[in-house]
């Protein structure tokens, strides 16, 4: 892998944008972060269940409840 200082500008820009997005997510309020976690659970749950892991997506307000074990 190329060192950071020799990366092509568009790749460097993509990495910088990714970093900026992480910082933006880290700055969200706790309640907003909880909603993001539930969204991630909704995305990950089918994959994990297909692998045999029993998971439950949190059925909290403002999120779509998926109540399967």
């Amino acid at each position: 892998m190329e060192p950071m200082d020799t990366l092509r500008p568009e790749i460097a820009r993509l990495i910088a944008a990714k970093e900026q997005r992480r910082r933006k997510l880290a700055a969200l309020s706790f309640a907003e972060k909880v909603r993001v976690v539930v969204q991630m659970q909704e995305m990950a749950a089918p994959v994990l269940r297909a692998r045999g892991r029993a998971v439950r997506v949190w059925a909290i307000a403002n999120s779509k409840p998926i109540d399967q074990k």
């Binding site: 992480r22 910082r23 997510l25 880290a26 969200l28 706790f30 309640a31 972060k33 909880v34 993001v36 976690v37 991630m40 659970q41 990950a44 998971v55 439950r56 997506v57 949190w58 059925a59 909290i60 409840p65 109540d67 074990k69």
Partner: protein
């Protein structure tokens, strides 16, 4: 959070704070987890034994059911972890008072989350330490004191070359 606050008010638990992945999420970008880890200080029992049974019983009386290691409270699997050592007792005593929407609650300090991860020592704890170092605003002096008090400096040095 309201359920936990009510349990604290009624003396079923002495103090609680959010830890684990959701505790870390308070300080960093959201982290995928399916459990809510709640660290608790339990009231002293007559026998002196540390048991979650009175807490579970109070939750059962409210209609919340146990699912493996967790209790399903309002659609969220909550895992209660009693403060079983000095680090956890200190972490709970110094937890931050915060709000989840309009409800007051408590989250362990980021420095204590780092120390607990170091003490627990699994691969995912190592990743948590990395994330907290990168994204949380750690108070370096406070962290150094916690690590020294609980004998965690060697692992910190090992994990953060």
């Amino acid at each position: 959070m309201q359920v936990l606050n009510n349990l604290a008010r009624e003396g079923v638990l002495s103090r609680y704070a959010i830890g684990g992945a959701m505790g870390a999420t308070f300080y960093v970008e959201p982290v995928l987890t399916f459990d809510l880890d709640i660290f608790v200080i339990l009231p002293k029992t007559v026998s002196g034994l540390l048991t979650l049974e009175p807490l579970y019983e109070a939750l059962r009386n409210r209609g919340y059911t146990e699912e493996g290691e967790c209790v399903n409270i309002e659609g969220v699997p909550v895992q209660f972890l009693p403060a079983h050592n000095d680090l956890l007792v200190e972490a709970l005593a110094e937890a931050r008072e915060v709000f989840y929407e309009q409800t007051p609650t408590r989250v362990l300090r980021a420095e204590h989350l780092v120390a607990i991860a170091l003490q627990t020592g699994r691969d995912k704890d190592r990743e948590r330490v990395r994330l907290l170092r990168e994204e949380a605003m750690l108070d370096k002096d406070y962290l150094a004191a916690v690590l020294a008090r609980h004998g965690l400096e060697a692992r910190w040095n090992q994990w953060t070359p």
